[in-house]
Assembly symmetry: C2
């Protein structure tokens, strides 16, 4: 099948680029002795997860219980990098297949208490990473003393096991030049936190960090044992703006059709916010919600649910109704989450398709 | 089952409010002799669509081919209010069950040409509404002469049938007071366009307009025969800000759990942009991506994919880890599109659940 036969809007992944991206990160982690535990939120796909494991990933990282359930088919080493709070969530985690050596991240005594009760009732050991806030200010304990206090609580509650610490440097996402100072601060913080933990008798076996924008600097952060980048498999406009990937490394595009040029000065395609998501660019001067693969000067400047309005002010190109375009999205993890099927292409040939098996919540009632 | 037993984040619909909303709009349309053809993009659910038809809807409005395929089980009168551009899209439309009397909206000669060829090849008559731009500047021809020209093209290409005109007053979404002037302009425009069409021999059988924010003023627009509001079934923060519904009319909330309070001054819940969407409020002074049902002063001020950060600056309430909240989203149509299952509740009891059967694209390869 040719890519032009697909009904639009439709997400396609260039398989050559995907494979190159996977090879590159696996090679980097291997070269620096870092465990690579990819976050599967970006692809939510057993197909891509298996490719990551085949290239030496030590395990997989998930956020939702459904992601963990789906990825349990592929690996016995899963980190749920999300606080295990709530009875229903805990019940699903405890029901993961027994071959899974479950590890979770958390940042509160309440989460430890709930998890300990559930793990005890299930007769299941769970490894715990204490989540530390090293600058993002989203989740995570804010001082080394807080981390030590939680590590003590974990150790006091078998079958929980204190396995180490985790942090997410999501605040470091500027251009490469902008990243230098916060990366230096991060290195110092990690040194300080790990020193305090070791001094208190809680030497972490696992120190997990690393986002895609910072991934290729992870070896400069002393003490890190694992990284868990997600977006690197596909890349997107945001990652390119940080300098962690080139435009040519963007494997994922949304194919769209021009459906209207009736209103003068603009063209409307069928990829709106139900196909592209409404994610702003957070780095650099770029605007819009995506840019055209073949016309980098054209962005999606506005969206309705099923309409994307192209900004033609910087181009002499004038699309006609029926013409097709390919859009590099700002934030690919959201686009994956909007779709049930991804098509893998080489050139213009649709070589394969795969379900986004871990999207949704699959809540059982 | 109690609502507190559901794993979060999870969308729930208050059935009492839903039924009241459906009754209200059906009553309004009936009282004013307007055909109600609800846009199902908001609920994407045969369950809710059937309730709309049971209350007298003349048919249903869809945007995507998959929506039309799913709703074809319920009704024989479907308007696909979206330009039928592209071979794959046309093929799916022509494959709708034969009992469906298909009607489409379009705004270009190219769309007419493609549709005429497909309809002829399929031996299937298709009713056409010419889409007119009456101020939104998204799609639609921009002058009555353009509309007449397209109507002529349609009439020249049986099995296409010229059925009338359609417009979407999506630009009229301010508060009630702000709407007065643009509504008056819209009335004048509709008069002028319909006059020109009639004079040219293209008296429209159907004149379709009406969004949820303008729905209850539709009877004041002379010549309108049908309205196709969507959001009114659930309502959301945006609709409330226009004055077309009260806060108590919001049937749809996302139940979330507080998962972290580790970073001082904020609380983090598990409804991020993969659960809530990242839709800004476009009307009024409200900020954030949703507000709490039980704490209207608290909004979701920031989001990651699976984290929603609550703004506690306007409240003395201090949530604890494990506590549950219910969030009224800014734009409910997006939240529906993010979910596979909706739970219907009365009070705290989960009475029923239904699949969001028309979400996704269901592309067949």
């Amino acid at each position: 099948m040719n890519i032009d036969e697909l009904e639009t809007p439709v997400p396609v992944v260039d398989l050559d680029i995907l494979e190159r991206n996977l090879d590159r990160m696996a090679g980097y982690a291997s070269a620096h002795g870092l465990g690579l535990r990819p976050h599967i939120k970006t692809h939510k796909s057993p197909r891509v997860g298996a490719e990551q494991l085949r290239r030496g990933a030590v395990g997989l990282t998930c956020a939702t219980t459904h992601e963990a359930e789906v990825m349990a088919d592929l690996t016995d080493d899963i980190l749920v990098a999300y606080p295990p709070v709530g009875q229903a969530r805990l019940a699903r985690l405890m029901n993961l297949p027994r071959h899974v050596r479950l590890m979770v991240a958390l940042d509160s005594a309440e989460a430890i208490e709930g998890l300990a009760e559930a793990a005890q009732a299930a007769g299941r050991s769970v490894r715990v990473l204490v989540e530390c806030d090293l600058g993002m200010h989203r989740v995570g304990v804010v001082t080394p003393d807080d981390a030590i206090r939680l590590a003590q609580l974990v150790r006091a509650r078998p079958p929980l096991e204190f396995a180490g610490v985790t942090f997410y440097p999501g605040h470091i996402r500027g251009t490469r030049a902008d990243q230098a100072a916060p990366l230096a601060a991060l290195r110092d913080d990690v040194d300080r936190w790990l020193g305090a933990l070791r001094a208190a008798g809680f030497a972490p076996e696992i120190v997990s960090g690393g986002s895609t924008p910072t991934a290729f600097d992870a070896h400069e952060v002393g003490g890190l044992t694992e990284i868990r980048p997600g977006t690197y498999c596909y890349n997107d406009r945001e990652i390119v703006s940080t300098g962690a990937a080139e435009r040519a490394d963007c494997a994922f595009t949304v194919v769209a059709t021009i459906v209207s040029t009736a209103v003068p000065g603009q063209a409307v395609c069928d990829a709106g916010c139900k196909a592209l998501g409404r994610e702003p660019l957070r780095v650099g001067a770029g605007t819009g919600f995506g840019e055209l693969l073949d016309h980098p000067e054209v962005t999606v400047k506005g969206m309705s649910e099923e309409h994307g309005i192209l900004d033609l002010s910087q181009t002499t190109w004038r699309p006609r109704v029926g013409e097709r375009v390919r859009i590099i999205p700002n934030h690919v993890c959201i686009v994956t989450h909007l779709n049930d099927v991804i098509h893998g292409v080489r050139g213009h040939r649709v070589e394969t398709s795969w379900p986004v098996a871990a999207r949704g919540r699959a809540q059982l009632v």
